[in-house]
């Protein structure tokens, strides 16, 4: 009898445990569907439900906040979804909150996402209707992608033509030329050397400028000498005066040249062939006169009256040499 009672107790524990687990399972499932406890309802009107079903989850800022309680067709373009919300979210959801149908994960079930708007508004009340946030659907994305694809095909075709042209062009020959690389390398080496030289030049120039600034060298002295400006100014005045004088002389010279070029001028005389014959004849007469004069002078040297003077002159000349 005692054994029977003990067995009954064990059986009772076994059955109660099973029932407890069963009831707990039902409770946990119902709790997730907001079937227990008081909540509040919200309404949202969509044009397209994208597969949203009754019992689907409602997320507020990514947190499970309720379930889709009912779906009604209002007209051919409007579907009204009634959301059964957990009451603990009531103090946080405002009237300007936006609802959108999203997907749980990449390929998950459809859910209603409610997001807050960063503007002040009154808190939501039971039965309020939320505004819908418009998002780009998969179909629209695919349409845009199709257009992009067509554009890409056009660009691809143009690129193909361009590549073909490049292949046929001389540039391609240059690129295919094995010596191009070595030439480019040599050019680069030259550029490197040039750059080094330029750097050296720049450094020297920098030194020169530095020294010039310090007043070293001729340029430095000129640039740093404060009296130089005054001298330069004076010089420039003098140059200006000289220039004026030169100008005046040039005018006079011009006058002279005009006189020379005149019909009765010297230049006319030079161009006259008869004058040239006269001059040549005169020069011959002069030559003859000169020869005669030389003979007279030689005769004078041998004259006893003047011989002493000439000898004295020769001695003086030798002494100077």
């Amino acid at each position: 009898m005692n054994n029977q009672g003990e067995n009954n107790i064990k059986l009772g524990v076994f059955v109660l445990t099973g029932l407890f687990v069963l009831i707990l399972s039902f409770y946990l499932i119902g709790k997730n569907r907001n079937l227990f406890g008081s909540g509040f309802t919200l309404r949202v009107r969509f044009q397209n439900l994208n597969g949203l079903m009754e019992g689907g989850n409602v997320l507020y800022a990514g947190i499970q906040a309720g379930t889709v309680d009912e779906i009604n067709i209002i007209n051919d373009t409007t579907m009204e979804v009634t959301l059964l919300m957990d009451k603990k979210f009531k103090p946080y959801i405002r009237k300007n909150a936006l609802a959108v149908i999203g997907t749980e994960g990449l390929m998950g079930e459809k859910v209603v996402n409610i997001s807050a708007v960063n503007k002040k508004a009154a808190l939501i009340e039971n039965g309020d209707q939320l505004a819908v946030k418009r998002v780009i659907g998969t179909d629209e994305m695919l349409q845009t992608l199709s257009q992009t694809n067509n554009n890409f095909a056009v660009v691809s075709g143009a690129l193909k033509t361009t590549v073909a042209k490049i292949n046929d062009s001389k540039i391609w020959d240059v690129l295919n030329d094995s010596s191009t690389a070595s030439n480019i390398r040599a050019s680069l080496n030259n550029i490197t050397k040039t750059t080094a030289n330029a750097r050296e030049m720049t450094r020297n120039l920098d030194q020169l400028i530095t020294q010039t600034k310090r007043g070293k060298g001729a340029a430095g002295l000129l640039l740093s000498d404060t009296g130089f400006a005054a001298d330069l100014k004076t010089t420039m005045v003098h140059v200006k005066a000289t220039s004026t004088e030169v100008n005046r002389l040039a005018v006079q010279l011009n006058q002279v040249v005009q006189n020379v070029n005149a019909d009765n001028g010297v230049l006319k005389l030079l161009n006259d062939t008869s004058a040239a014959a006269n001059v040549r004849k005169s020069l011959e007469n002069i030559q003859k006169g000169t020869d005669g004069f030389n003979q007279n002078m030689e005769a004078l040297k041998h004259n006893f009256l003047l011989r002493g003077y000439f000898k004295k002159q020769e001695k003086l000349q030798k002494a100077r040499q």
Partner: protein, 256 residues
């Protein structure tokens, strides 16, 4: 000729089981009620099967998780492992595996027990003594099997899910709370209720087939073994047939 005989035997068997089942409803509704024997059978059928069912449930959850994991990792949805294991255990694997284990243990036990009572003429003796053997032996066992299998299934599911939790944590780290939150977030009444209801049918089938085979045992002690064996085989087949029918009905009701 042989086919005709087999068909006749099959129809005879089917008719016998139907009559046997109908007799149960007529007998059970009338007093006196064998409450003490019913509780005793509940203890031996339910409580004493718990350790075996619990162990198989635990292993089932653990192995299922470890087998599913590589495929889910391959597709990059490893995070869905608790959801998949939870739905699989609650909807199908838990009830069916538990029912099959139950059929193996209880179906054979009932078939052998009643078969030995039959061949040793204890059942006839009960009739002579004024006790209704059907009510005392069959009704109590069938009712006990019908009511105990759902409880065993619920507990087996719970243990199986715990095994799955351990299976998940062998290769990764998931908190106990997160694991069960993920499971129950994705479970619906449409998953749990049909699975729970069909376990009553499984239990009833196992009890009824075991009792029928044992109650109609013959050919001496050899028949006892045959009864036990055929009780397990037939009840296992009936479990799958019931499962198939319940899935169809569930689908028609829109619960899938």
């Amino acid at each position: 000729m042989a086919t005709s005989t087999k068909t006749r035997e099959f129809l005879n068997e089917t008719g016998g089981i139907a009559r046997f089942t109908g007799q149960l409803f007529s007998v059970t509704s009338k007093p006196p009620y064998e409450v003490r024997e019913f509780l005793s059978q509940c203890y031996s059928i339910g409580y004493r099967s718990f350790s075996l069912i619990g162990l198989t449930g635990f292993i089932m959850g653990l192995v299922l998780t470890m087998q599913l994991r590589p495929s889910l990792v391959y597709y990059g949805v490893e995070s869905k492992l608790p959801m998949m294991v939870g739905i699989a255990i609650v909807r199908e694997i838990g009830p069916v595996i538990t029912a099959l284990i139950f059929a193996g243990k209880i179906g054979s036990s009932i078939g052998a027990e009643l078969g030995s009572m039959k061949v040793t003429e204890q059942i006839d003796a009960m009739e002579v003594s004024g006790t209704n053997p059907y009510k005392y032996l069959v009704a109590t066992r069938v009712l006990a099997a019908t009511l105990m299998l759902p409880i065993l299934t619920v507990l087996s599911d719970a243990i199986g899910l715990f095994g799955a939790y351990i299976g998940v944590n062998i290769k990764a780290v998931t908190s106990f709370r997160l694991f069960f939150t993920q499971i129950f977030q994705n479970l619906q009444y449409g998953d749990l209720t049909p699975a729970f209801i069909k376990t009553f049918l499984f239990g009833f089938a196992v009890g009824m087939v075991g009792c029928y085979k044992g109650y109609n045992s013959n050919k001496g002690t050899r028949g006892v073994g045959s009864s036990a064996n055929s009780a397990v085989v037939l009840s296992s087949v009936i479990i799958f047939i019931i499962d198939l029918l319940v899935v169809q009905v569930t689908d028609l009701l829109g619960l899938n």
